[in-house]
């Protein structure tokens, strides 16, 4: 039957085993990356292909079918639609096309025959010719290919085998071979090493990056310390940390021992009203605290403020194990049990959803973040998030707080900087939590995905106050499942930089990736350089990237001035809170405040009250209600009375957390659901989303108007307007309050920008609309994201003749 069907698949044997099967090898051709119409990455091998395959399109993609050719390379399963444009040889390589799936994100391969369904594993053999090939992906997508009757049977069988054998089984070490397949070639390494960092976002890699953030938030009294530059003090902490100005590095060094893993309290963010957000691990109780140490510790905690609230996260928040369990249940609910093809009955869907507790966990995180936001709003205190290890829930809560309070974090560059700051640099254990290597099953927990879900909840409630869109969150969600990005493939900055140091001798932290790699790539053939996930041009076409932002966002400019001037504003809370409560430490735990004497370990150890007078240590219970009031008054007072403009950037976006307000991220979790996919409502290719239509119409009318007026000695301004209809449209539509009036910030690296300046075509007389997809992408996504439909005529419609020509076997389509 098949030549290679009995050999067991082993990772290390990939090259010899594959050699005979390889149809074509990308690396062999100097120019021709184009094989059978598939544009390969350098070094990519096409293992198998099948012609006349139809791909089922999801509702987001427009529904229906798309005919084309299916490829299996040793990196991805690629699908090239029939009439797709000839790829441009000079364009930058894109890892995954719009219809491609990386082998590493495939979880299960299922072949559907005329009468049966079989889960195909590397060792299994097929006893029937598959009519349908279903790929279940880790990122909850389900991709379905249908073989036409004209597809040669051998091709259908062979490609199923190829995919089953090459997709990454859960074995240690497979990640590397996958990365090599994608990025390992000389050309690709060269290409990647020439990629530049997106300058728009803050990478938090250097001292200046942190200083930029301090300046942006208007934080004073803090400085960037390089005491951990060689990761000597705390291995999991970043190289640079922000600490109070008055704490000297020598003093700082002594404090590391007092915290779990040396994760001392570090500054994260300053609220415009002057409170600072800090995060820390729990105290190390078993060591002796000297007096000097204690003074330093307290200086760290107070950071120039007079009050300090420690928010204990451990007790109410879900543990990573809870999150993992909930996510597993959610997956099962959304995808169904694939092999048994048993799905939750429709009328039990809601209770099963509730039982998964995923939404509860999301709610819990949002709730805690809302509490902290309210506290910060009070001003003049430090709020310290404390968690045992400071590497999971602290990341979630601190970044959610910033999304709620800081409008800049709701833009794409701001959000990326936020993730970089609170997750990547802060040392969230991405590698263990994602468990790409399948070697840390106990550690596995999609904490980051829970965070994305929380952000989505906020986004769904306040869509107009985000610059980023659900599409962006979805792209990030999917990328998390692709083990290709340096962002997600290390547990802390130390691991990350060690890895890159091994690659490149000339590594310096300031301009890391910009360094040219050693000229001899064979020096390290195993580890290709890994790009950061933020290099979206590697994964997504510019049409899809254009959908990452929508012009509908909050009124303030994307770069709000948070200069800390607000600190001086008359603040009713200020007088209350700062009166006579100097130096008080409070604990917020389980929703109540307390000032327990044992909160700080050294309190019991005696000697309290023996240092400076201004630090009165007596727990002042009278200010407890003041804090509680902070949380309560926010919700009790009407925003329009608090501030004339409820969209005041200072006011946190507080999510509503009651049952009816919390939704399911349908676009993400339910896109793979079989029924949903089958019953999705297709969007015709010939018709545009009404919003697009409206936008188009506005533009047309404007153009006409401009033309009409220009015919009569039009002022020059009119002409300008007609030349840049896009930005003008935005401004005029809402007086600059609703849409982003500024041109869309381009987070695309200059090299990644394909030629987009094609002039808009005049509408063809037959079609009601011009093909918007051909126009500048920033114009096309005028208001909301909508899939550009560039495949107007590619839809597969079964021709009667096709069906008649082959009578054997029932057709799925008939």
């Amino acid at each position: 039957m098949l030549t290679g069907s009995k050999t067991t698949f082993k990772v290390r044997q990939i090259v010899p085993d594959m050699k005979e099967r390889i149809l074509s090898h990308g690396g062999l051709h100097t120019r021709g990356r184009d094989m059978f119409g598939l544009r390969c990455l350098p070094g990519e091998c096409v293992l198998q292909r099948a012609v006349l395959v139809r791909k089922k399109l999801s509702a987001r993609e427009g529904g229906g079918w798309l005919a084309g050719t299916l490829f299996c390379t040793h990196f991805r399963v690629a699908f090239v639609p029939q009439d797709s444009q000839k790829p441009d040889d000079n364009a930058d390589p894109v890892l995954l096309g719009d219809h491609d799936v990386a082998l590493a994100s495939i979880e299960k391969v299922v072949a559907v025959g005329p009468s049966r369904t079989k889960l195909v594993t590397p060792n299994s053999s097929l006893k029937f010719t598959p009519e349908e090939l279903v790929l279940y992906c880790r990122d909850l997508r389900v991709i379905c290919f249908l073989f036409d009757r004209l597809t040669p049977e051998t091709q259908a069988v062979e490609i199923t085998y190829s995919i089953a054998k090459t997709y990454q089984p859960l074995k240690p070490g497979t990640i590397l071979s996958f990365q090599n397949a994608a990025l390992g070639s000389v050309e690709m390494k060269q290409f990647l090493s020439n990629r530049r960092h997106d300058a728009q976002m803050n990478w938090f890699e250097s001292v200046t990056d942190w200083e930029r953030e301090l300046e942006r938030t208007g934080a004073t009294g803090w400085r960037v310390s390089a005491v951990n530059d060689r990761f000597e003090m705390a291995t999991s902490l970043p190289r640079f940390n922000v600490v109070p100005q008055k704490v000297l590095d020598t003093e700082l060094k002594k404090t590391f021992a007092h915290f779990n893993e040396g994760r001392i309290p570090r500054w994260c963010w300053r609220h415009p009203r002057g409170s600072d957000l800090l995060r820390t691990a729990s105290f190390q109780n078993n060591i002796y605290h000297e007096k000097d140490d204690i003074r330093n510790l307290e200086a760290l905690l107070f950071g120039g403020q007079q009050q300090c609230v420690v928010v204990e996260l451990a007790e109410e928040m879900p543990t990573p194990a809870d999150i993992q369990l909930a996510h597993t249940r959610l997956r099962a609910l959304c995808l169904g049990d694939i092999s048994a093809s048993v799905s939750v009955p429709d009328d039990k869907w809601l209770s099963t959803l509730e039982a998964s507790r995923w939404l509860d966990h999301a709610r819990c995180c949002l709730k805690k973040a809302a509490e902290v936001s309210c506290l910060l709003r009070g001003g003049h205190m430090t709020v310290i998030l404390q968690e045992q290890e400071d590497r999971d829930m602290n990341c979630v809560v601190s970044s959610l707080v910033q999304v709620m309070c800081d409008p800049y974090c709701r833009t794409v560059p701001g959000f990326q900087g936020l993730v970089q700051k609170e997750w990547v640099m802060a040392g969230h254990r991405f590698l263990s939590r994602a468990n790409y290597h399948r070697d840390s099953d106990k550690e596995e927990a999609p904490v980051f995905l829970l965070f994305l879900d929380c952000v989505w909840q906020l986004w769904a409630q306040y869509p107009s106050r985000f610059q980023l869109t659900g599409d962006y969150l979805l792209a990030l969600h999917d990328s998390f499942h692709l083990p290709l990005f340096s962002t997600f493939l290390s547990n802390c900055q130390r691991e990350r930089s060690r890895r890159s140091q091994r690659l490149s001798q000339s590594y310096t932290p300031v301009n890391g990736w910009r360094e040219v790699l050693p000229q001899d790539p064979s020096q390290d053939p195993v580890d290709p350089p890994l790009p950061p996930v933020w290099d979206w041009a590697l994964q997504y076409s510019c049409q899809r990237r254009a959908r990452f932002t929508h012009p509908v966002a909050q009124s303030s400019a994307p770069q709000p001035v948070l200069n800390g001037n607000l600190n001086t504003n008359p603040d009713t809370h200020k007088s209350q809170l700062s009166d006579g409560t100097l130096g008080s430490v409070f604990l917020l735990s389980r929703g109540t405040f307390s000032s327990p004497s044992h909160l700080l370990p050294w309190r019991n150890g005696g000697g309290s009250g023996s240092y400076r007078k201004s630090h009165r240590r007596a727990p002042s219970s009278e200010s407890l209600p003041g804090l509680e009031r902070l949380i309560k008054t926010w919700s009790q007072s009407e925003p329009s009375k608090v501030s004339p403009n409820p969209q005041d950037p200072q006011e946190p976006l507080l999510p509503l957390l009651l049952g009816p307000c919390i939704g399911v991220w349908r676009d993400c979790y339910l896109r793979g659901a079989l029924q949903a996919q089958a019953f999705c409502h297709p969007t015709p290719t010939s018709m545009y989303h009404p919003v697009d239509q409206l936008a188009w119409e506005v533009q047309q009318l404007r153009d006409k108007l401009a033309l009409a007026s220009s015919g009569h000695a039009a002022p020059t301004t009119k002409k300008q307007e007609s030349r840049r209809p896009d930005t003008n449209l935005n401004q005029n539509t809402n007086n600059g309050t609703f849409l982003f009036s500024a041109p869309r910030p381009s987070f695309v690296t200059p090299r990644g920008l394909p030629p987009t300046s094609a002039p808009p075509r005049a509408p063809p007389p037959t079609a009601p609309l011009p093909r918007l997809a051909n126009r500048d992408p920033s114009k096309r996504t005028f208001l909301f994201s909508h899939p550009p439909d560039s495949r107007q005529d590619q839809r597969y419609t079964p021709m009667p003749s096709t069906r008649l020509s082959k009578n054997s076997g029932p057709s799925l389509g008939s």
């Binding site: 869509p463 919700s635 403009n645 409820p646 409502h681 002022p715």
Partner: protein, 745 residues
């Protein structure tokens, strides 16, 4: 500003309203507010009794805060008139002209509870004579909840108003007492400004003929029932298969007569009928059987000699099920105590599911899809049957038409559809709504029409651009059922309407009364508010290719209905009752509910049907099908959550997007006008009037119903924090004393 907190001896809590204690009220302001304010009465409205001062609580019962005013009971409504001057700030865009936001039409009262000290008792009319409660809690059918305190009024007055309210809103009364009758007696007949295209009322032969022409049906219009001599259930005019003989029509009082609903463009048609009891034991059954066979024959002859029948009561829930499920469901949204809502929160999804309401919606849509499949794919006639033929038959037939006929998705088309299937179709609105509170009719009460609107809402949700009307329109329509002004929802059948109206006319000497129809929206809303009824996303049918479309259409059809003739359809296993067994061979009659016995085949065939539909590009002007799986059924947030402050997203929610779209549409219109002006006066200076945009900033998610956000006194951060706050309530109170100045931020 007159409001107060009475916290049981506790000092007044700081609030943004006022700080006046009850004592102060009595001494100072009572006198000035002595002159009771009355609402602006409608023509024909009579005040029965009124009391002042009455405290209307804000929704949160814990805070015990509220507004003083006058409680008035008229023959139309229970009205609360605030002593305060109406705040100008709320330029109410969406004000109902008939009743204000604090008014409850009598027929809109769902339940009344009396608050005796701390206990809450359901009041069921008649029982309470001596003791009157200190507090009245009124649950409305449009899901508002009102709480009034009677303790500040004089005892006599309080007693009077309480008994008045109970008497007029809960106790049985005759239909004539319903406000509509006194209203249309007194109301000056306003010249009806009909929008074009107007709603077809289906009360003349022409309307029916027109409708049949529109759908290209080939049945006959029957006017034998013009004087209701044939049947009291059937409308004056209706359409039947041509093959039905005149002599057959007189048998069984119109039962079993297949009434034409709609014709598919392929020629097959949908019929509905009130089924005959086929299972009866005696001699009748034979006669029924023969009769039924003849009727089926007649239906089948309409097109290709094939018909499928569907007994709806076999597979769909009964009207009692619907009623029970709905009353369970609505409890989640009728909250007089926000704490209850907070507590229900943890079990939100499973309690929704347990009510079964969403599942009933799903079943109805599912059934409609099956019927659509028969019409669209198999091109057979369909006859849906039900005992009365006017409940679920109406739901299913209307849904089928909505899915298949783009005309029904326009505003006028939808109104005509309701008029055709529900009003002329003889849905017993009076019994189902039980406007007159007759005890013996309680078992017939059931929100069937609301169920239909729910189904439409689900379709609207999934295929927004296919509908010309908006969610707001549906919500308003569902409210209007309980406004006793419109003749549309007052009667059990056209016969009932005719008799009531006829009896009435000799007394008034003015000819037959003419109740306004609900479709005259200008009675309720200003022109501007009516703009919210239209969907800004509606994809209007491109007009220019109308001619082209005609020629194109047949091709489209052929492609669409794959096996075009009935003979090509592969035989599917069906389930037949024994009586119709002979028919099966003769007529190829099939029951639709196949899945009862062969679930796989039905599933597969429905799936196939979906896939065939899916393969074609979606045209919002042809067939649309709903998605029916678990996550697709949603709660109609706007209708159910609009009054609950806790779940209003201020400055957020989908409405910000919708209002943005509306602005965009406005912009397009503005530009068009501008362009026309330009064309006319080419030399004019260019002055673009900046379109006045609704600021989405201030909209809450329950716009347009609750524009002003009344903040509750519960924190926005729920669950554990709330509980802990309530536990430490003592502490919180204490600090209120300390920091009074802080309360007003």
């Amino acid at each position: 500003m007159l409001s107060l907190g009475s916290g049981g001896g506790k000092p007044v809590k700081p609030s943004f309203v006022s700080y006046v204690t009850p004592e102060e009220i009595k001494s100072t302001e009572r006198e000035t507010s002595r002159k009771e304010k009355h609402p602006d009465l409608l023509p024909g409205e009579v005040v029965f009794c009124s009391t002042n001062p009455v405290l209307k609580y804000t929704q949160d019962d814990v805070s015990q805060r509220g507004i003083f005013g006058t409680l008035v009971c008229t023959n139309f409504r229970i009205a609360f008139v605030s002593d305060e001057a109406p705040s100008e700030e709320q330029a109410q865009l969406f004000k109902n002209k008939l009743y204000g936001e604090n008014d409850i039409p009598l027929t809109c009262v769902d339940h009344i509870y009396g608050g005796y000290d701390e206990k809450k008792k359901l009041i069921t009319g008649g029982l309470v004579r001596n003791k009157y409660p200190s507090k009245i809690i009124i649950h409305c059918k449009d899901l508002r909840v009102f709480q009034f305190s009677l303790t500040y009024a004089k005892e006599e007055e309080a007693k009077k108003i309480f008994q008045g309210i109970i008497h007029h809103s809960l106790e049985p009364k005759s239909l004539k007492c319903i406000f509509a009758f006194s209203y249309c007696e007194k109301a000056t007949a306003t010249p009806e400004i009909h929008r074009t295209p107007r709603t077809v009322m289906f009360d003349t032969v022409e309307d029916w003929t027109q409708e049949m022409k529109r759908t290209k049906g080939n049945c006959k219009v029957v006017s034998a029932n013009e004087n209701f001599s044939l049947s009291q259930k059937l409308p004056q005019f209706f359409i039947m298969p041509t093959a039905v003989l005149d002599e057959d029509m007189t048998k069984f009082e119109g039962k079993g007569l297949p009434i034409w609903c709609w014709s598919h463009h392929s020629g097959c048609a949908l019929f509905k009928t009130a089924s005959l009891p086929l299972m009866q034991e005696d001699g009748y059954s034979q006669a029924y059987k023969i009769y039924m066979e003849r009727m089926l024959n007649a239906v089948a002859q309409t097109h290709l000699y094939s018909v499928k029948t569907e007994e709806l009561s076999d597979t769909l829930p009964t009207i009692q099920d619907i009623q029970q499920s709905y009353s369970r469901f609505k409890q989640f949204f009728l909250i007089d105590n926000t704490t209850e809502f907070w507590l229900s929160d943890m079990k939100w999804f499973s309690s929704l599911e347990n009510s079964g309401w969403l599942d009933i919606i799903r079943q109805c849509l599912q059934k409609a899809v099956e019927v659509v499949e028969c019409l669209e794919k198999e091109n057979t006639n369909v006859l849906i049957m039900e005992e009365a033929g006017s409940d679920l038959c109406c739901v299913i037939s209307s849904l089928v038409q909505l899915m298949l006929d783009p005309y029904c998705r326009t505003l006028a088309g939808f109104q005509s559809l309701v008029q055709k299937e529900w009003v002329a179709g003889g849905h017993s609105f009076l019994d189902r709504c039980n406007h007159v509170h007759q005890k013996d009719k309680e078992q017939f009460q059931s929100p069937v029409f609301l169920l239909f609107l729910e189904c439409v809402w689900q379709l609207l949700q999934q295929h927004g651009p296919a509908f010309q009307f908006s969610e707001t329109y549906l919500t308003v329509l569902s409210d209007s059922v309980h406004v006793p002004v419109f003749g549309t929802f007052l009667f059990n059948s056209p016969y009932h309407r005719a008799t009531v109206m006829k009896n009435d006319s000799p007394q008034t000497q003015r000819g037959p009364l003419n109740c306004p129809e609900v479709w005259d929206w200008s009675l309720q809303f200003e022109r501007k508010a009516q703009d919210l009824f239209t969907n800004p996303l509606y994809a209007e049918k491109p007009k220019q290719d109308k001619g082209a479309r005609r020629t194109y259409r047949p091709k489209h059809q052929r492609q669409l209905s794959l096996p075009s003739s009935a003979f090509k359809t592969p035989p599917k296993k069906g389930f037949f009752k024994e009586e119709t067994d002979s028919l099966k061979k003769m007529l190829r009659v099939k029951r639709i509910s196949r899945w009862l016995h062969s679930p796989d085949s039905a599933q597969a065939s429905t799936r196939e049907f979906y896939e065939a539909w899916q393969r074609k590009p979606l045209d919002y002007h042809s067939l649309i099908l709903p998605c029916l799986d678990g996550p697709a059924m949603r709660v109609w947030m706007q209708r159910y959550l609009r009054w609950i402050h806790e779940v209003q997203i201020f400055g957020g929610g989908a409405i910000t997007v919708m209002s943005k779209l509306a602005d965009l549409v406005g912009e397009v219109q503005e530009l068009r006008r501008e362009l026309e002006r330009q064309a006319c006066r080419a030399d004019s200076n260019h002055q673009r009037a900046a379109a006045s945009h609704r600021s989405s900033v201030r909209l809450s998610s329950s716009f347009p119903f609750a524009t002003s956000r009344v903040w509750s006194f519960k924190p926005a951060i729920p669950t554990s924090l709330l509980q802990s706050l309530m536990i430490t309530g003592g502490l919180a109170d204490q600090d209120d004393e300390d920091g009074e100045t802080l309360g007003v931020v």
